[in-house]
Symmetry: C2
Subunit: 492 residues, 2 copies
């Protein structure tokens, strides 16, 4: 993994100069994560983990409203389980951590060596369909046991070759939902219902415009009938897959023998879904809104929404503004507020909180106090507003709402600008030569044309959007008729 600059005072590379370095610099400046001595694994530091905790809190609540129950399944998957679903093993065998021994013993060289070889190697879960459905086959007897709707918050491991903090790490944190239903249509509905939970969450809380769609056959989850996806656009015009929901049909039910006795007295395989969102979404959140000064967080997900910085002339005059700041904090009890009481000049403090992405900064000095006002500074626009101390609670609420809406609108405007209808191969060539963005193009549904696009432009079909309307057209690669556009983009 690219080394994170752990020096908080380091400069942030401009987005325009080096987008990848900018991303790493923003993470370092806001102290969100650090690289670790374990290849491809990162440490999520308190500032970064607090964002993930907020994401968990909101989503967990939304899941529970949908009848989802949390459970916990083993980290280890027996190798034999892995072998049962052919596509699944094909998809994950190349990048999994394998446990082969259960102790270390001291060798003659004074080093510890693996000892106690296991009869059957264990795989560290890259995803848990196999072990969970094995359990489901024990738990599900009749239609009365259905639907079964469980979720786990867990760590998973995929041995990635190229890693980047949050976006792609060998170990990552996620939730994985797993359901079993009596009818295929129920599973189809569940797949799209959970996708919609993700879409709403990503738009409403993370302020990132989210496109719902279906993956092509070559991009679907290994073992799924089809995969539904949420695609988002980052500030370099690249796509980022933010969450997925898989219609598994009976693909796992059959090898894992997940059957139920129907009301009609017949044995039937269940229909299943799985769906997940991971710490990768924190990377999307960072990249969607931040700027050349540092992190920008939407108020609805920011661990600290408001920082109050009391301002004074001489250090001896500190007490009155500090007390005023604490009083304001009490008035703002509906928000998550931090009072910066440290000694020192205000300038570096302002800069620090800007880099950390705090949505709103309130400055309060002796002159402001005399006028019964404070200065509110928006992180998204830098705009300064005088706000009255009388009804500061309302004013702050209003400003935070405006910031949330502005971030969403700004990201939406950018996405729109970076999206083009592409109707010929020449246009597509020009589009991807110029840079990144979403190309809305027709596609004949052949894997060959999909592959040619990938080979020529390093771009993939991100999804067939659920919003795409019937429209007559021709595949820009082969010219065959098509009745729908797909979204093509380079991706994270």
């Amino acid at each position: 993994m690219a080394d994170l600059n752990n020096e908080k005072s380091g400069n942030i590379t401009a987005r325009g100069t080096d987008y990848s370095q900018w991303y790493l610099d923003v993470i370092a400046a806001a102290d969100l994560a650090d690289s670790s001595p374990v290849r491809g694994c990162m440490v999520i530091k308190p500032n970064g983990y607090a964002i993930w905790e907020n994401i968990q809190k909101v989503l967990d609540q939304k899941f529970k409203e949908k009848g989802v129950k949390n459970a916990y399944f083993p980290l280890f998957i027996p190798k034999s389980f892995f072998e049962k679903e052919a596509e699944h093993v094909e998809g994950f065998a190349k990048e999994c951590a394998v446990v082969t021994h259960h102790r270390l013993s001291l060798g003659e060289d004074g080093k510890l060596n693996p000892a106690g070889e296991l009869a059957e190697p264990l795989i560290i879960r890259p995803t848990s369909e196999t072990i969970i459905y094995h359990m489901y086959s024990n738990w599900i007897q009749t239609y009365r046991d259905l639907p079964m709707i469980m979720n786990q918050w867990a760590n998973v491991v995929r041995w990635e070759m190229r890693t980047r903090p949050f976006l792609r790490t060998t170990e990552f944190l996620w939730q994985e939902g797993h359901t079993a239903h009596a009818a295929n249509e129920e599973a189809e509905k569940m797949t799209m219902d959970m996708l919609e939970v993700y879409r709403q969450f990503i738009e409403e809380y993370l302020a990132i415009p989210a496109i719902s769609g279906i993956k092509t056959e070559s991009e679907k989850f290994a073992g799924a009938v089809y995969t539904a996806t949420i695609e988002t656009m980052m500030q370099d015009g690249k796509a980022l897959q933010a969450a997925t929901s898989h219609m598994l049909g009976q693909n796992f039910a059959k090898p894992f023998d997940v059957k139920f006795l129907g009301a009609d007295g017949k044995q039937e395989y269940v229909s299943q879904t799985s769906w997940g969102i991971s710490t990768r979404i924190v990377g999307a959140l960072i990249m969607a809104h931040s700027d050349d000064t540092g992190l920008v967080l939407p108020p609805k997900i920011a661990p600290t929404q408001v920082v109050i910085v009391p301002v004074w002339g001489k250090e001896t005059d500190k007490d009155i503004p500090v007390e005023a700041a604490k009083k304001i904090a009490k008035q703002l009890q509906n928000f998550s507020v931090h009072v910066d009481e440290r000694d020192g000049r205000p300038g570096p403090k302002f800069y620090e909180w800007e880099r950390a992405g705090i949505p709103l900064r309130i400055e309060i000095g002796p002159r402001d106090l005399a006028n019964n006002i404070a200065i509110a500074v928006r992180r998204d626009t830098g705009e300064k507003t005088e706000i009255s101390l009388e009804n500061i609670d309302d004013e702050v609420g209003k400003l935070l709402n405006e910031i949330q809406e502005n971030l969403f609108a700004r990201a939406g405007k950018y996405q729109k600008e970076m999206t083009s209808k592409i109707d010929s191969y020449a246009e597509m060539t020009e589009f991807f030569q110029k840079g990144n963005g979403f190309a809305e193009a027709h596609w004949c549904e052949s894997p060959e044309c999909e592959k040619k696009i990938k080979d020529d432009f390093n771009a993939t079909i991100r999804c067939i959007s659920t919003d795409s309307v019937a429209e007559d057209g021709a595949c820009p690669v082969c010219g065959k008729r098509s009745n729908k556009r797909v979204i093509i983009a380079r991706a994270y």
Copy 2:
């Protein structure tokens, strides 16, 4: 791991007949967990996981009030890190899962074989001192970076030979707090402060009397200067170590080079602590209060505090009591309430909720409605009370408080009855021949006498209680003078 009877309608073995089987039966009857196909690993089912979620919620809040920040560190620990602290490796090398390969490849036999051997094996964390303190050594520069107080909620793996659901599993869930301080006394204070957080939580929420104390040298954490512990008594008179807090001093700071520049301009090693509580505590909770009918949960930690069972004569008369039950549920919005709307006779429902450990059951039938009352049945005593529908909110609150207090008092009474002052070896022999319990005895502090007790009675010194008072006496094993009693017991 002993097989869990997954048949919910199975009978529960009486505690007096077979305590171990009773424990497994209670878990199965309340549907808390199941055995898994992975040796020593269990599946925590929704009913069991909801208890753990409640424990997490309360403790996480208490930690945050103490200034603890959550973070996340890698699952993997490089083997070389493990080798740095001699006692630590000695303590954990014999029971750790070792990752040696990073993919599977299809062999000629059609089987998947481990491939991609790692240059250095990785250990799955049995505990994270080594990796976390490696990071701390990068993060801590001066006294201004101290104290550093972090916690992670995570899974850990210890390759246990004999496992039991919740009490001892190869993989388990826990939190591990890790702190670094400028002064040794600060670390000592932290060790005991966090122990006190656990003690209060265990007594107040889990209603289990908790003894704070210090472990002997032979029972301390591998690498600690000393280990502070919370010891509890189960209903078979055995001890269960419920949480531990370790004073690490500079034992890890030195090999991991965790140094800081003091205010005096001198480089100094930090002093450290670590402390944890695991899913084992769910096992303690089950064993502390449950009875021969099934699970008993204290109201303050029960995922469902009240179940309302509407009662009717003919199925066609169902609507009125069901509507009344829903109305009551609305009045009880300060509590976690479930309304059992299912068809069927009330008897089996009552039985099911008793087995599941719901603290309070409210029965409401047509006759009760006519009298404007409901029947409340306590899970702890089976006692039935008529409660007025007018102020049902108050009545239920009062009853739940009484249940919480009664469970704590009952467990305290049992512990007291099962604890004896032991003043000679003959007395100790008789005590442990008769059965289990806490023996309060003098001890000369020699490992030899400690070992003889262990060999002769299969009992260990659980702790030197922080409440133990100075008292002249003699070691029952060797007769040497001692000035304090210790607690000796057989343990989980």
